[in-house]
């Protein structure tokens, strides 16, 4: 497949924004959808729709099988041992909440410590805060340096006999830092501490191999992987899924219900209560196929080329400051322009059809650490080209002009 033709698979790029060609640089927020995903949603609702796992009529059997096919594809995509280790959720936020709640129930007591980092998105902090409130747990933040890298030595020092779980991002949605998860897990293993990885930003952009990482939990947001909204994935080692209590209770997750006792369904259904986003999960199969058809190595190389091109070009613009300079960086470029607030940047570049994000990107701890209230962020997806970056830089120049810098 030719990486240059990928854009043509995304119908949205034929639309004009403010009369201009759309330059979409907000994929870290949510990615656009290829036609195959959109068609699959449409097709499933038109021709195949049924709920899954309950009725035994033909439509239900087919829908159940299609739902299961996505699970199989996800399993291979992340190299899990079995399909039972792949739980579908509402989103990655719910995946992390599931672990915080189910793991926290019996494994976290007053004074126990949860180790996270200053890079975390609010969705990998707030669920742990609930345990701080309900159980009296302590949350420790592993510090980052000014480049946006986690200081491993400091990280090690924060591990104590009371550390019960480590929750850490694989790829920062602000600095683009790719965190050395394998190294982190090796450190954790020595103390027998489970590790949850927030894989929201990594899943669409770098190779995920949960067996190689040896992490205990891995959360994925499907809409960032060119898939439909309303679907997330939680990978967890089977032993945890067997041991931990279910999260949401309801239909579909039970084995037998009596007036006095309830037993739960086997994996993975134990964690999938109520009607699932059936069509969306089915359509997510097309996102994985889309990723596989290009090949993760090609995606990594392409995005690296575009990212380096962007960094080189943006650094040459006076007044632009790139936030962070991590050792290993993916296509997330947060920046500031001296004298122009990020919200003003976003409004001005939007007039040129350039979609970026401005704000704290749900990372207030990180912004506080960096001494910033807000940043502008251009994030790269597989469909972005050097022309997109040229247009971004042109529109940044326009900010300078409007503000007479």
């Amino acid at each position: 497949m030719n990486i240059d033709n990928i854009k043509s698979q995304f119908p949205i790029f034929s639309k004009k924004i403010n009369g201009k060609k759309l330059v979409y640089l907000d994929s870290a927020n949510s990615a656009q959808k290829p036609i195959a995903v959109i068609k699959r949603l449409d097709d499933f609702y038109k021709n195949e729709f049924s709920n899954i796992g309950r009725s035994i009529h033909s439509l239900a059997v087919n829908a159940t099988n299609k739902f299961d096919e996505t699970r199989e594809l996800v399993k291979d995509f992340i190299n899990a041992d079995s399909k039972e280790e792949v739980i579908f959720t509402k989103n990655a936020t719910e995946s992390i909440n599931l672990v915080a709640s189910s793991f926290g129930k019996h494994n976290i007591k007053k004074g126990d410590e949860i180790l996270i980092t200053e890079l975390e998105h609010h969705s990998n902090y707030v669920p742990w805060h609930y345990l701080r409130e309900s159980k009296g747990a302590i949350i420790k933040f592993a510090p980052i340096n000014e480049d946006g890298d986690i200081i491993i030595e400091e990280f090690k020092k924060l591990i104590s006999n009371k550390t019960k779980i480590i929750a850490i991002t694989h790829l920062s949605n602000v600095t683009g830092t790719i965190v050395p998860i394998k190294e982190i897990v090796e450190i954790a293993r020595k103390k027998n501490i489970p590790v949850l990885v927030d894989g929201c930003q990594s899943a669409p952009h770098i190779k995920i191999d949960v067996k190689d990482l040896d992490c205990d939990f891995y959360a994925i947001s499907c809409h960032k992987v060119y898939g439909p909204t309303g679907v997330g994935v939680l990978y967890a080692k089977k032993k945890w899924l067997e041991e931990l209590p279910p999260y949401v209770g309801g239909g579909g997750m039970i084995s037998e219900v009596n007036k006095n006792t309830i037993t739960y369904a086997p994996l993975p259904e134990k964690y999938e209560a109520g009607t699932m986003p059936t069509a969306e999960v089915v359509a997510f199969s097309q996102s994985i196929k889309f990723m596989n058809s290009i090949g993760i190595d090609n995606i990594v190389n392409h995005e690296k080329e575009i990212t380096n091109y962007a960094l080189d070009k943006m650094k040459k613009i006076n007044a632009v400051n790139i936030v962070g300079n991590p050792k290993n960086k993916a296509g997330v470029i947060s920046f500031t322009i001296k004298g122009v607030h990020p919200h003003d940047i976003s409004t001005i570049v939007d007039e040129e059809g350039v979609a970026i994000r401005a704000g704290h990107h749900c990372c207030q701890i990180l912004h506080q650490k960096l001494g910033l209230l807000a940043t502008a962020r251009a994030s790269i997806g597989v469909y972005n080209t050097k022309e997109d970056i040229d247009m971004l830089c042109h529109s940044i120049e326009k900010c300078r002009k409007v503000f007479d810098l």
Binding site: H341, H343, D344, T347, I348, L373, A374, V402, F403
Partner: protein, 157 residues
């Protein structure tokens, strides 16, 4: 949409060199405002004298050009007004930003109205309205001595 209408010279100028910036001496009313979408904060300080006149009005905080300019212009126009007059100007401004095409109030002269109307460009940018209104909601909280923290996600609903 026209960027020039949003970023008029007067807005850019107030954004760069805000008036009445800092904590004023002897303030007796104050309130904090917060826009959770972007993390912007503003602190409003009011010195209300015995005749219930806004003797001094200043602010601290950081934000985009629209928010700083709106706050700066607000302090200029409300300073020196009576409590009642200030309330009228605030509600007139909030009406103008949301729906009405002009400032109706008789509290301001034509020059002042022209100045305040420079902010009307944000109407075309619904996501930016909160940038312009944050300080005004916060001023209400300060002068009415509600003392509660203003949050644009609540005030603008």
């Amino acid at each position: 949409m026209d960027l020039k209408e949003l970023y008029q010279d007067i807005i850019l100028e107030h954004g760069k060199s805000p008036r009445n910036f800092g904590k004023c001496e002897g303030y007796n009313r104050h309130a904090n405002g917060h826009n959770p979408l972007c993390g912007d904060h503003v602190k409003i300080y009011v010195k209300l004298n015995e005749e219930k006149k806004v003797e001094n009005l200043t602010f601290e905080g950081s934000g985009c050009a629209i928010s700083i300019a709106s706050t700066s212009i607000m302090t200029e126009l409300v300073k020196g007004k009576s409590f009642v007059s200030a309330q009228k100007i605030i509600s007139d401004f909030l009406n103008m930003i949301k729906s009405s095409s002009e400032m109706q109030s008789t509290e301001l002269n034509e020059d002042q109205k022209t100045k305040i109307m420079s902010l009307s460009g944000v109407k075309q940018y619904p996501m930016r309205v909160k940038c312009a209104t944050l300080a005004w909601h916060t001023l209400t909280s300060a002068i009415e001595k509600k003392g509660e923290k203003v949050n644009t996600e609540v005030s603008d609903k």
